[in-house]
């Protein structure tokens, strides 16, 4: 038998039907659902008189529109339109009988944090959601990707997707990371290297010593942004770190089933000699703490760098860079570490997990944020929030001057009350620096949680290593 990649193995295990031209029906093990991309899909089912094919494999949670301030049970905190979407999810989840975590449930949070945390996401699974950051779940060695609303309806109705296989791409990070360099810096550095279209048509497998050394939280951060590199999905082969994380979680298998699962999960790795269509290798030692300067996640530079000039680029990127620099209100040649910020946002499906909270606490413990800076920390779920409080992290944040919020997508995409004002500049642990992403004319610099914490203390983009 010819050697297979991890992606080949998971793919092969999920083909329910293959047509002559290679178009497959891929069986879906977990379907995660949130309020923004699902209402039209449920409405489609209703109009066609269809049921949800596998409600037991479908998990719904509101996150995008949900306010993150106390008293959010009060509907007046949401705009009428937001309320309609959240209420539609509530109605649809109950009517179609799927698993559901309402706003009032302590387990509510960002869908990509809720799935792994409760043991829904497991190695070797196929996981989809009407949300591009579904790539997050690839950290478990699960084939996970975003889908559009028509496909949400298709999965609800049939538990399958019509798919053709992508190509295999390997991203290897060799060696060790330097102090102050994190999973977020790895994933941004890779996009800086490949560009936002570099992964188009591929499923990426991340490997190498620096990836192996990451915790599950760090691996989720890396895979989360596979989509920003254009890949359909990102994958990391499961290992003892993965198994330890899954063991004992509410919906993970128990007893004999756990043993059976473990036996299969241990076969989920890329065989020696398997073919990759594209390979990118970075040395862990070469990765610096990075920031983005522009309005595309590929606009990445080490914090020690300077704002580039449009002429530094080629082709269509010259005009795109000119537009970005103007939008961001920057000057070519300006030192990145001289850029003053107004706001710090820590949270999102990229960096809203307990380890991210700990990384921030380590930087800000016993210190105060710079006067005049608006700084908020939004845990990714009610369970992350509870754990951070139990570990005493919330006290550290509040003593330093951060707002400590309730769980949700918050300012990552500003579909809720948390938004940037015009020209407001933000150091953000989220995943997209697109124009208007965090609010109309808002300016986003993507950074790691430790770098965001450092920026909150100094009021400008800062090399966290100077504070260590």
């Amino acid at each position: 038998m010819s050697p297979k990649t991890l992606y080949d193995k998971i793919w092969d295990a999920h083909v329910a039907h293959e047509a002559e031209d290679g178009t497959c029906l891929l069986y879906i093990d977990r379907h995660l659902v949130h309020e923004v991309t699902s209402p039209q899909a449920f409405e489609g089912l209703r109009m066609a008189g269809r049921k949800v094919h596998a409600p037991d494999k479908t998990i719904a949670v509101p996150d995008h529109n949900v306010p993150t301030t106390a008293g959010r049970e009060d509907p007046a905190q949401m705009t009428a339109e937001s309320r309609i979407q959240v209420e539609a999810l509530d109605k649809n989840a109950r009517e179609f009988g799927v698993h559901y975590y309402p706003v009032s449930d302590v387990r509510q949070g960002i869908v990509h944090i809720v799935g792994p945390e409760n043991g829904w996401t497991l190695p070797g699974m196929t996981v989809v959601c009407g949300d591009s950051h579904t790539a997050t779940h690839g950290a478990f060695g699960a084939l996970a990707h975003g889908i559009g609303t028509s496909e949400v309806e298709h999965v609800l109705a049939t538990q399958t997707l019509i798919q053709k296989k992508s190509k295999n791409m390997k991203v290897e990070i060799t060696g060790k990371l330097k102090p102050g360099v994190t999973a977020k810096d790895i994933t941004l550095a890779v996009i800086g290297e490949t560009g936002t279209g570099g992964g188009t048509g591929y499923v990426i497998e991340y490997c190498g010593e620096a990836i192996r050394d990451l915790s599950m939280e760090g691996r989720m951060t890396v895979c989360n942004m596979a989509i920003e590199g254009g890949a359909r999905a990102g994958l990391i082969a499961p290992d003892q770190t993965t198994f330890d994380y899954c063991n004992g979680r509410t919906h993970a298998p128990k007893g004999a089933q756990w043993e059976a699962a473990l036996t299969w999960w241990k076969t989920l790795y890329t065989d020696e000699g398997a073919h990759f269509d594209k390979v990118v290798t970075l040395r862990g030692e070469d990765i610096e703490p990075v920031v983005t300067w522009g309005t595309s996640p590929e606009d990445v530079l080490p914090i020690t760098g300077i704002v580039p000039a449009p002429e530094d680029f080629e082709g269509g990127k010259v005009e795109a860079a000119r537009r970005s620099i103007e939008y961001m209100g920057l000057t070519p040649g300006q030192k990145l570490s001289d850029i003053e910020i107004d706001t710090v946002f820590i949270g999102s499906c990229t960096n809203g997990r307990i380890e991210d909270m700990r990384a921030v606490a380590e930087v800000v413990k016993g210190k105060k944020i710079k006067e005049g800076i608006r700084a908020m920390i939004v845990p990714g779920s009610g369970l992350v929030r509870a754990q951070a409080e139990e570990e005493g992290l919330a006290e550290i944040f509040e003593a330093a001057g951060f707002e400590w919020r309730l769980a949700g997508c918050s300012m990552c995409l500003a579909m809720n009350p948390d938004q940037l004002a015009e020209n407001e500049r933000c150091a953000s642990t989220s995943n997209r620096n697109f124009e208007g992403r965090q609010g109309y004319k808002g300016r986003t610099h993507l950074v790691s949680p430790a770098m965001a914490a450092a920026a909150a203390l100094t009021g400008k983009l800062t090399d966290v290593r100077e504070l260590m």
Partner: protein, 201 residues
């Protein structure tokens, strides 16, 4: 879904690279629970001032492109979010075909579910079409899906590739779910096997 008929129309040029789905339809417009009505907010922040007045030099506000049915765009069009509101907005505006050197994966798939044909061509050919689109409303292109050909206003013919299954669905206006349900027995067989081999799922 409407069948994709042979299309003859004005093409609008948008050479900017990496046009993302937040540009195509900003998130403030994602709060509808309907599939229609997004066209007026297509490219909203590029198209309108904050007070709702039109930005004159934005391509779709120019008189010659207001009824464009084809978009010729820069590389990596539709990157970012999975929001199907992006193709809904494009279709609702009246655009039925987008040409670029590459598309983001999810956006590309979403187009086909909404009767939009995304066409990938090499840079040199996109350059030819971009120059043709720059000519304005007198430059009407023809997109023939059956023959897999674009004809420029000068009569140049450019061939393009399209997945055979996706082409068939567009030409016939077929609904995916209906087709998949015809294979229900395969799904059932798969589920029975899996309940034995991977019962924890």
């Amino acid at each position: 879904m409407e069948k994709f008929e042979k299309l003859q129309g004005v093409a609008a040029p948008m050479p900017l690279v990496n046009i993302d789905t937040d540009m195509i339809i900003p998130k403030v417009f994602l709060k509808s629970i309907a599939r229609t009505g997004f066209g007026k907010n297509l490219f909203d922040e590029m198209r309108y001032n904050r007070d709702g007045t039109e930005i004159e030099d934005f391509v779709l506000n120019k008189p010659q492109y207001r009824n464009a049915e084809i978009l010729v765009a820069g590389d990596n069009f539709g990157c970012g979010s999975s929001r199907e509101h992006a193709p809904w907005a494009i279709a609702d505006f009246g655009i039925k075909c987008v040409v670029s050197t590459s598309f983001a994966d999810i956006f590309f798939n979403n187009c086909f579910k909404n009767g939009i044909l995304p066409i990938v061509l090499p840079q040199e050919q996109v350059d030819v079409l971009m120059a043709d689109a720059e000519k304005g409303e007198n430059a009407r292109m023809t997109v023939d899906l059956e023959a897999q050909e674009i004809t420029t206003s000068d009569g140049d013919v450019i061939k393009f590739e399209v997945d055979a299954f996706k082409k068939h669905c567009l030409l016939e206006g077929l609904d995916d779910i209906g087709q998949t349900l015809q294979k229900q027995s395969s799904i059932q067989t798969y589920e029975e096997q899996m309940s034995q081999s991977r019962p924890w799922v």
